[in-house]
């Protein structure tokens, strides 16, 4: 197992280097002069010379790349052209919104998807099976942004059960963690706590602010359902077909023949073996969820990274776009690593070759 983990970690290096190469190349691949593109057509030669020096664009390309890598490793992703803020700070403000949404949606997709899939498989060819598969097929084809708008129309406008958009109701205050706990001054701890405060659910829970927690939860329900639908449908389908495969195996029949309880056969003999393809699907879908979060944020006016990236592409603020793409891609790679390790943990026969 340790050997497998080590090998898998080693394999990360070329992939991470590749990702950095792609984000590095982004700025250099823009058709035209990057300076004119970002500062506008009226930028003077001096402004451009200064800009190129600041961005390191006046050096040989390999020096630029090595410097870029060095900066990344030190946690420096450059400075936003639009706001003049460090990119890292801009991302730190927005990432919690995207992460919170993605995490809640993943939880919904996995729990409901697997439950529905198991029900459909156990009651194969029943009404539940048929209904699950019809819903799953339609769910797979649902554009997130449209589903979001439809949910908004039904639950926020017609039924008035939930708030239509945003993260919180005006007037519901949530104190940032450092202030609530009386920790002040600069330092990594305060930065970390400030970052964590961006997760409203977590922040509200840690400060015991139940009103803010309930408010944040209500605002998250519609976006996360919209985002979770496609992965939920795919996970349900995969769970059903994978479990059906296993339930048809001889050893399952043997287990029943031994007189084991239905529950024991299902959980201990069948689910465990059906789990691998399900975990794969979940891993793939988390990548989708990160992309889909970009769309959901637009629909529900959430100030996440997705909205940031799109706004900054339109504003031609490339350092922010590069930084965001880099961070999300690295996160995706990390999640895939987790999936692979889960794989090895579920099935000890798996090893790297």
């Amino acid at each position: 197992m340790i050997r497998y983990i080590a090998q898998r970690l080693l394999m990360l290096i070329p992939v991470l280097l590749g990702i950095s190469l792609v984000t590095f190349a982004m700025l250099r691949l823009i058709p035209g002069d990057p300076c004119r593109v970002m500062l506008g057509e009226r930028a003077t030669a001096e402004m451009c010379a200064d800009f190129n020096r600041r961005m390191g664009l006046d050096e040989p390309i390999y020096v630029q790349y090595i410097r870029y890598l060095g900066n990344i490793l030190r946690g420096d992703l450059g400075t936003s052209i639009k706001t003049g803020q460090p990119v890292v700070r801009e991302l730190a403000e927005r990432l919690p919104v995207t992460f919170e949404l993605t995490i809640v949606a993943t939880f919904l997709a996995v729990s409901f998807g697997i439950t529905a899939g198991i029900l459909a498989a156990v009651r194969h060819r029943s009404f539940i099976d048929l209904a699950t598969m019809v819903v799953a097929n339609i769910g797979v084809s649902m554009p997130v942004f449209w589903l979001g708008l439809v949910l908004m129309f039904v639950f926020a406008f017609k039924l008035k059960w939930l708030p239509p958009s945003g993260r919180s109701t005006v007037g519901v205050e949530l104190e940032p963690l450092p202030a609530a706990w009386g920790i002040s001054g600069p330092g990594p701890l305060v930065s970390l706590l400030e970052f964590l405060s961006g997760f409203r659910l977590l922040g509200a829970l840690l400060t015991g602010n139940l009103r803010a927690f309930w408010d944040a939860a209500q605002h998250l329900i519609l976006p996360s359902i919209a985002l979770a639908t496609i992965p939920m449908a795919l996970i349900a389908r995969m769970t059903r077909s994978s479990l059906l495969d296993v339930l048809g195996q001889d050893y399952v029949r043997t287990a029943y023949a031994k007189g084991l309880l239905r529950r024991a056969v299902l959980w201990r003999h069948s689910m465990k073996n059906a789990l691998l393809p399900i975990v794969t699907t979940i891993g793939i879908e988390v990548g989708y969820l990160l992309g889909g979060a970009f769309l959901t944020e637009t629909v529900f006016s959430l100030p996440g990274v997705g909205r940031l990236v799109v706004d900054r592409i339109l504003a031609r603020d490339y350092p922010v776009v590069q930084g965001a793409v880099l961070v999300i891609a690295c996160l995706f790679v990390f999640i895939n690593l987790m999936v692979d390790l889960t794989y090895a943990w579920i099935d000890p026969r798996i090893h790297y070759d």
């Binding site: 190469l21 084809s141 554009p143 942004f145 589903l147 129309f153 992309g291 769309l295 999300i328 995706f332």
Partner: protein, 302 residues
């Protein structure tokens, strides 16, 4: 894809092992399976309607998709305008019809070009083996290390927003999937007896690749391409929706949604119909793709 189903010109090739024994078998086989699959038939039915709508849009559409009736902006569906009018007083039904042209073109173009390039990359990698194989496939791995929509957004960031650039972006990010499929199929077919036999009698490598191996690697490619069209259409609509795809006044479904998303409470029809159109189109390709997979993959037949 048609090329495969054509009978090989027997006269020109007196003795080759270059073509499979039953050149027409595959398509007839697929059809036989699809005909007994109600779900796939439903997909094909929806698709046929969509194709007709797209082709005949200028004939069917009751109004010009960009003509404005300013006095009736946001008018709800009526007998004259069955899907109502949008925020600029344009007929939603006509725009949805013309949108079918765009979305179907997006699907076929992106998947067609991605499959073509992917096939080339995969075939070269599988055939060349060694270092070239390694480099090509690691490049594909790096592309797969990004969530696909994010990579497409990054490509659009480089090229600049717009429908054409969105098309290139979506095609580009789909390449690795096809490259992998083709490479894997070729590697498994390469050592089959009939390929070895062809090589033994001195059939040139290129001919073996195009006449013997690729046709046999085609089945997983067809399935992936059909499902790929569904996700390409979805991605293009997504890019249009966040403002990085089609530009006004193009009647692209995602853009139509984006323009009217603030009207979802006051004029829901402006949002409902374009979204429904996206969903039905994607559903049709998904159903057909699943049907094809069941028909083509003997392991899944049950």
């Amino acid at each position: 894809m048609q090329g495969v189903s054509q009978a090989r010109p027997a006269a020109a090739l007196p003795l080759t092992f270059g073509a499979p024994a039953r050149p027409r078998g595959l398509w007839r086989d697929i059809w036989r399976h699809l005909a007994h699959n109600p779900v796939a038939l439903a997909g094909m039915g929806i698709l046929a309607v969509l194709l007709l709508a797209a082709i005949l849009a200028p004939v069917i559409a009751p109004y010009d998709p960009t003509a404005q009736i300013l006095a009736q902006r946001n008018a709800p569906p009526s007998s004259e305008h069955i899907m109502g009018l949008d925020a600029l007083g344009r007929d939603v039904f006509s725009r949805v019809l013309y949108g079918a042209r765009i979305s179907l073109f997006v699907g076929f173009f992106t998947v067609g070009s991605a499959a073509l390039v992917g096939t080339l990359v995969g075939a070269v990698a599988a055939y060349a083996a060694g270092a070239i194989d390694n480099i090509l496939m690691r490049l594909m791995d790096i592309m797969l290390a990004f969530p696909s929509l994010l990579l497409a957004i990054a490509v659009v960031a480089i090229l600049g927003p717009g429908l054409t650039n969105a098309l290139y972006a979506i095609a580009f990010v789909s390449i690795p999937v096809y490259a992998r499929i083709v490479r894997a199929s070729i590697l498994s077919i390469k050592e089959q007896d009939y390929v070895l036999a062809a090589r033994a009698v001195g059939v040139p490598s290129a001919r073996i690749l195009f006449r013997t191996i690729l046709p046999n690697a085609l089945t997983p490619l067809i399935v992936q391409a059909t499902l790929g069209i569904a996700s390409a259409i979805l991605d293009a609509a997504a890019l249009g929706f966040i403002g990085l795809g089609a530009r006004m006044p193009t009647p692209e479904w995602g853009l139509m949604l984006a323009q009217h998303r603030n009207l979802v409470f006051t004029a829901p029809h402006t949002v409902f119909f374009p979204g429904l159109a996206i969903m039905l189109t994607v559903l049709a390709f998904n159903l057909l793709g699943d049907g094809l997979r069941d028909a083509l993959d003997p392991r899944l037949r049950r």
